[in-house]
């Protein structure tokens, strides 16, 4: 291979954190005008590697070459100067500023006074060129997440990056937005720029990349030409064993009484924007109702209204004919797996044992005469650790030291162990690797088979289709349509996710 055509090379990079070897002699290469896929499960070390490239971390050893020259990158501004642009998985945008303000933020200039005129022209030209349209004047928090992604990409292109790193860019996009992103990536590479595309979604990686480097446990497992790769080969390289997310067989559950009934519910989000509009939904015992839709279309408010965390402005919500008026704390009634386990689901600085009893600490035998009974709590924790297969040495360690999958198991153990009549699972597999995902799926399916009503909210179409008995599609606080889980197809759901009803399509 011609050495000159390599635009980016990271050679022999190692990086360790206390107790973890995040990158172990990793080498990647990206040719000019190519898309390199970086594939690996969560925690495999992809993001660490890219943070090293962007100057956020310093590698313990290894070299970085850009355009054949060795560079040392100590800070993001140095990375930008070397022509590296990055779109982080969690956007680095200042919500309260406008698009154009975000784009020019930090660009060195001699002018002290802001002048948006030329910047706007340049941005609008980029918008046209890559067909990523955003209004430069709009305040960022008002933009849907997809558009925020465009802002991030435009921000990097505005700085004329040679290498654009996209970290899990499609996690927040609808199928059609993903297609739009693919087109933009093609245009970016046509100009001789390179793209590093980080993902754990096999389909996209195969669609978009020229080469794929697979990383597992901080090590490079191999690099393949995408043309010669198939989904199953890559999946096996990534996980180390064959895997698939497929619809699992399920028995029919006889009891079918309505458990959750929502009638004409209206609710507002934290910004005072209407999040649910005349929302009607019934979930029966023994079924999983999947709520599909792009994030931010009322999913969060929906789960919060049901569990009593948010008061609807009008309408009624009943669970087993009991009106929801206050926060439901009884775990034998409703089990709630919140969308953000680290913020809402757990107290990260508490131990596993304490987290497991956050709802039940007032009950005997965990409390006696107003004093917590630590020995009982410990026993309970050990029992749960065994029962739910939580990988934790004991109940005494802080929950923040566990991996994401095991943290989620702690939440699940607490919420579902009392066999609630209704399970509300909001993005329960977000950020988990394939093994942990299928574990969560099994648990939810068991809940259904036991006779619980399960509301399953997820932005991942594939898993909604794999798990649900019925699928409703949420768009802008309303249900766009309802489909049978057995017969639903991705295209119809995708259309509904964009706010088009099936009638409109026909």
């Amino acid at each position: 291979m011609n050495e000159n055509s390599i635009l980016l090379k990271m050679q022999d990079i190692s990086k360790s954190f206390p107790g973890v070897l995040a990158n172990d002699h990793v080498t990647i290469e990206c040719e000019k005008g190519h898309v390199l896929g970086l594939l690996g499960e969560n925690g495999a070390g992809k993001t660490t590697l890219m943070n090293i490239l962007y100057g956020l971390y310093q590698p313990d050893q290894g070299k970085i070459f850009v355009d054949g020259k060795q560079v040392v990158i100590n800070s993001p501004s140095e990375a930008i100067n070397h022509g590296i642009g990055m779109v982080h998985q969690h956007f680095k945008l200042v919500d309260t500023l406008s698009v154009i303000e975000n784009v020019i933020l930090g660009i060195p200039t001699n002018k002290a006074v802001l002048d948006f005129g030329p910047a706007k022209k340049k941005l609008e030209k980029l918008c046209k060129e890559y067909e990523l349209f955003v209004d430069p004047e709009e305040i960022v928090w008002r933009l849907p997440v997809g558009k925020q992604q465009w802002v991030e990409i435009l921000k990097a292109l505005y700085r004329d990056c040679k290498v654009l790193v996209l970290d899990e860019p499609t996690a927040v996009l609808t199928p059609s937005e993903s297609d739009q992103l693919c087109r933009a990536i093609r245009k970016i590479t046509e100009q001789g720029r390179s793209v590093v595309f980080i993902s754990h979604k096999l389909r996209e990686v195969i669609e978009i990349t020229d080469k794929v480097t697979v990383i597992r446990d901080g090590k490079v497992i191999g690099t393949v030409n995408t043309k010669e790769a198939t989904q199953s080969i890559l999946a096996e390289m990534m996980v180390g064993r064959p895997v698939t997310i497929e619809r699992k067989a399920r028995p029919t559950v006889k009891e079918h009484s309505a458990v959750l009934v929502m009638k004409n519910v209206n609710a507002f989000d934290d910004r005072g924007v209407q999040a649910l509009k005349d929302f009607n939904l019934t979930v029966h015992a023994g079924e999983i109702v999947g709520v599909a839709g792009v994030d931010g279309n009322g999913q969060r408010e929906l789960s919060e209204c049901i569990t009593g965390l948010r008061k609807p402005s009008s309408g009624s919500i009943t669970i087993q004919d009991k009106q929801v008026t206050n926060v439901i704390a009884d775990p034998s009634f409703v089990g709630f797996i919140p969308e953000d386990r680290q913020k809402t689901g757990l107290v990260l600085d508490f131990t596993v044992a304490e987290n497991l009893l956050i709802k039940d600490y007032k009950e005997k035998p965990y409390v006696k005469n107003g004093f917590l009974q630590y020995s009982e709590m410990k026993k309970h924790a050990e029992h749960m650790i065994k029962k739910y297969n939580i990988k934790s040495p004991s109940g005494d360690i802080k929950v923040k030291t566990l991996s994401g999958g095991n943290q989620q198991k702690v939440v699940i153990a607490r919420e579902l162990d009392a066999q609630p009549v209704l399970d509300v699972a909001s993005h329960p597999t977000r950020g988990l690797d394939l093994g942990a995902v299928s574990n969560v799926h099994d648990i939810l399916l068991n809940e259904r088979n036991r006779g619980a009503a399960v509301l399953f909210i997820s932005a991942e179409l594939q898993e909604v289709m794999a798990l649900s008995d019925r699928i409703v599609v949420l768009y802008s606080g309303q249900i766009m349509g309802e489909l049978n889980g057995e017969t639903a197809d991705q295209f119809t759901i995708g259309q509904m996710m964009l706010g088009q009803t099936t009638e409109a399509k026909k």
Binding site: P76, I80, F91, K92, L93, V94, D95, A112, V113
Partner: protein, 308 residues
């Protein structure tokens, strides 16, 4: 008679609000960058003593103000080192500086015994004497010491800097999302240092003006009387916006001036109650306004650059 009292009150209202405005403009930048500089009360107190003392010995108000700037710079560096580099709790650090300032000024003032019965010369008016006799606006506006005009001018400058300059954009960005600001290639630490030094200089100068624009005396034992804290409230009430904060400062200045005047009239209201008025107004304004303003997102939180 009543007319004169009202004129006098209006004149004093503006005069009293000048140091508040200057101090508040600095504080806006610090808080917009995410750091609450709680020490402004103490820094103001140090500035007040510094202003009077230097003015007395150097016989120059310009030198006195310059000394205040230097003092603010040094104290600002100290606050920044503690709250930004060492990531200490901003409230505790502020309290520490305030207590330190009370003690330090008392000690220094007790040494400077000659100053005790002498007045430093106060600031003159910006406009010529003849204009002071114009009815209404004459005494209220044109008889103001020039610092009042400077304070209002500074508020406009602050507004321009915050919204129309690159540095202002950086400051607005860093308080709302320091990680984003860092990935855009800016130094979060540097920005926070800059705003903290700016706010400390503003507080110190405000303290100097507090004495040099009115009495010319320094009174030991907390002569700032909680004005720094009122500024902290004014910034919140003003929603971190220079113009609105300026008006909040004027409101507090007016209450302060009113209570001083009411104390001297023979009134059935006890003086203690009157003295409480400015703070009462502060509390009421805070309860009304707080819900409506938008707090900088990382307000009061330490920034740890190692976490991204």
């Amino acid at each position: 008679m009543t007319y004169e009292i009202i004129l006098d009150w209006l004149q004093a209202s503006l005069r009293w609000s000048a140091p508040l405005i200057i101090c508040a403009m600095g504080e806006i930048f610090a808080e917009r960058s995410g750091i609450i500089n709680m020490g402004i009360e103490g820094i103001m107190l140090c500035g007040a003593l510094c202003g009077v003392a230097v003015s007395y010995y150097a016989q120059s108000q310009a030198v006195a103000l310059f000394a205040c700037v230097i003092l603010g710079l040094v104290l600002g560096l100290m606050v920044a080192f503690l709250t930004v580099s060492r990531r200490t709790n901003q409230v505790v650090t502020g309290l520490m500086i305030n207590l330190l300032a009370i003690g330090a000024t008392n000690v220094i003032f007790s040494v400077l015994t000659v100053m005790r019965h002498k007045r430093a010369t106060t600031f003159g008016a910006l406009f010529p004497e003849s204009m002071h006799r114009i009815p209404l606006v004459g005494p209220v506006l044109f008889a103001q010491p020039f610092t009042t005009w400077i304070a209002i001018f500074i508020a406009f400058i602050a507004s321009f800097v915050l919204y129309k300059t690159r540095w202002g954009l950086n400051v607005r960005a860093v308080g709302d999302n320091p990680q984003a600001t860092a990935t855009a290639g800016l130094s979060v630490i540097k920005l926070k240092y800059q705003t903290l030094i700016l706010s400390s200089i503003a507080a110190s100068v405000a303290g100097g003006i507090l004495t040099l624009a009115s009495s010319g005396y320094f009174a030991a034992g907390g002569m700032t009387g909680g004005r720094g804290f009122i500024v902290l409230a004014a910034v919140v009430v003003g929603g971190w916006d220079p113009m609105r904060t300026m008006f909040a400062c004027m409101l507090f200045g007016a209450t302060d001036a009113a209570q001083l005047r009411l104390q001297t009239t023979e009134s059935i209201i006890p003086t203690q109650f009157l003295q409480m008025l400015p703070y009462l107004i502060t509390v009421i304004a805070l309860t009304i306004m707080v819900k409506r303003s938008r707090v900088p997102k990382t307000w009061g939180a330490a920034y740890d650059g190692r976490r991204s």
